[in-house]
């Protein structure tokens, strides 16, 4: 399938809040991730043509949706001509129409509109609910009708604004599968807005971290999540164990970091001695050592700490450990590991192993 590319480069001033967004998306699911009020919905509205930026350009392949640049003719294609499907946070189904008529809304001039609408409802597993009104449907069903309705207009771009935020986790998972399948089948450019990191990781192909009206970072999920570009991006992603450490010394196979007086051995990096570096410790890679059964392999750093709290999470325990440099880090311990039980119960001194690969050092020039 030919790749379609949506390019957005817009500025908009909204009384005290400045939107300055630059991003591009191909036939994939691009997740705009960020806190509420970061400008995600504003970005979608501008792409759909529901709001007008102050300046910039929005293009889909060689078609210009919006352009306002000095020295060039302005273009602002009305929303109805952009063929950009939009699934709203609150569904926005027409309450006076049945599920089927909602889906058939954009097809009324076309032959076989009802048959096509029925096929789309079936695609979203809603055939049994075709004649129900929106207020007779559950949230998940309404959202599927909203997606079917948007698809009926044969969009080239599909925008989803926090589409599944009101639904429980199991239904969300199912809808994410549906969405990925639909995206593949139709070769759509999908832009998906969420402030939920689990959603972002589960549905997206690529991730754009949005904060304070700008895109902090955009890239593959893996890239963005493991190598955040900035302290701000790390904050938005909620990455724990952030540190700013100094490059103390370098050998052929390791880099010695000085984190507020604590020496840590990290993988070799193209950095210079004395530089201040931004990084973090991956909490799932750090191990609490069981005194009796030490592994003889030294994978990195053995350091002492003191457990300050233990919290049970969804699939692991979050253990907070105070280190000798007065910093507290998070360590994720599997729930099933019963050997650790006595250590966790005493809440006392503990020995940690921080392997080199658990220390992620980001490029110094990005450490703003």
């Amino acid at each position: 399938m030919q790749d379609t590319r949506l390019c957005v480069n817009i500025k908009r001033s909204l009384g005290g809040f400045d939107l300055d967004i630059g991003l591009s998306a191909g036939t994939e699911i691009l997740v705009l991730f960020g806190p509420s009020g970061a400008g995600k919905t504003q970005t979608l509205n501008a792409i759909a043509g529901l709001s007008t930026p102050d300046s910039g350009e929005i293009t889909l392949d060689d078609e210009t949706f919006f352009r306002k640049k000095p020295g060039q003719a302005s273009i602002d294609t009305p929303a109805r001509r952009r063929r950009v499907g939009y699934v709203f946070q609150q569904y926005a189904l027409f309450p006076h129409l049945t599920a089927l008529d909602n889906v058939a809304y954009s097809l009324w001039r076309k032959p076989n509109s009802r048959r096509r609408a029925s096929a789309l409802l079936e695609r979203m597993r809603l055939s049994d609910h075709a004649n129900r009104f929106p207020d007779e449907l559950s949230g998940g069903q309404q959202q599927r009708v909203a997606i079917a309705r948007a698809l009926a207009a044969e969009p080239r771009v599909l925008l989803l604004d926090e589409p599944f935020s009101a639904l429980d986790a199991a239904i969300r998972e199912r809808l994410h599968e549906d969405l990925r399948a639909v995206q593949q089948e139709s070769g759509l450019v999908v832009v998906y807005v969420t402030h939920n990191l689990d959603d972002a990781l589960s549905v997206g192909h690529r991730l754009a971290v949005v904060n304070g009206g700008r895109v902090e970072q955009i890239g593959s999920i893996e890239d963005v999540y493991v190598r955040p570009a900035s302290s701000a991006a790390m904050g938005v992603l909620g990455i724990p164990n952030r540190m700013v450490a100094r490059a103390a010394a370098m050998t052929a196979d390791e880099l010695i970091l000085d984190w507020d007086g604590l020496a840590l051995k990290a993988p070799v990096q193209p950095v210079q001695a004395g530089e201040s570096l931004l990084g973090y410790l991956r909490p799932e890679e750090i191990r609490l050592l069981v005194p009796a059964s030490q592994s003889p392999i030294d994978a990195g750093n053995r350091i002492a700490g003191k457990i300050t709290s233990v919290q049970v999470g969804r699939s692991f325990r979050i253990v907070r450990v105070a280190l000798s440099n007065a910093r507290t880090i998070e360590v994720h311990v599997p729930l099933a590991d019963s050997r650790l039980q006595p250590i966790l119960e005493t809440r006392g001194d503990v020995e940690l192993e921080i392997p080199r690969h658990a220390i992620i050092v980001l490029n110094p020039d990005r450490a703003s």
Partner: protein
Amino acid sequence: MNWHSVTLSLQVTAVATLLLFVIGLALAYLLARRRVPGQIVLETLINLPLVLPPSVIGYYLLLALGRGSPLFEWLDVRLVFTWKAAVIASTVVGLPLMVQTARAAIASVDPALEQAARTLGSSELEILWRVTLPLARRGIIAGLILGSARALGEFGATLMVAGNIPDQTQTLPLAIYDAVQSRQYQLAGQMVLIMTALGFAGLWWARRLEQNPDRRSARQTG
């Protein structure tokens, strides 16, 4: 029984209702959905007939329609003392009721639904026809009934611009006045009964439409 007055009243009310629908709906939509310069002034002007004595409305209408007005002098349209003047007077006094009710109904339609329709390829006219008006339907009908009922009962302004010419411009309210003046109390009583029944039916219907709003036309998507 003065049947001419009954049919004339119904005729005047029917035409006024048509005008109320077209003009009132356009104004209601404009006020609810568009930014109009001088919105407050326009609203106040529309609502003025609610507080002004009918004689003042009649006076203004005479200025607008009578000798010396552009309509009369340049276009040579003669409306004063015809049943058409009664239609205009009825429309003017019915307009505030229609506009206020219909406007509230249109404003209560969630703008997100109109946005959704835009992204589905609808033109503004199509959105009005397929989304906004169907959802505001009950309020619009209720406003129309209230406006028509007021138009049917119009007396003072009609008297001034259409006159009180028996068998020509004498509407039911005017005929009742005449009957009482000439002490034909039985005739007056019959006509009063008709007016009361029509007025009661109209208000009852409008109230019913407003009270159990169609659950699908209420705002649901917040």
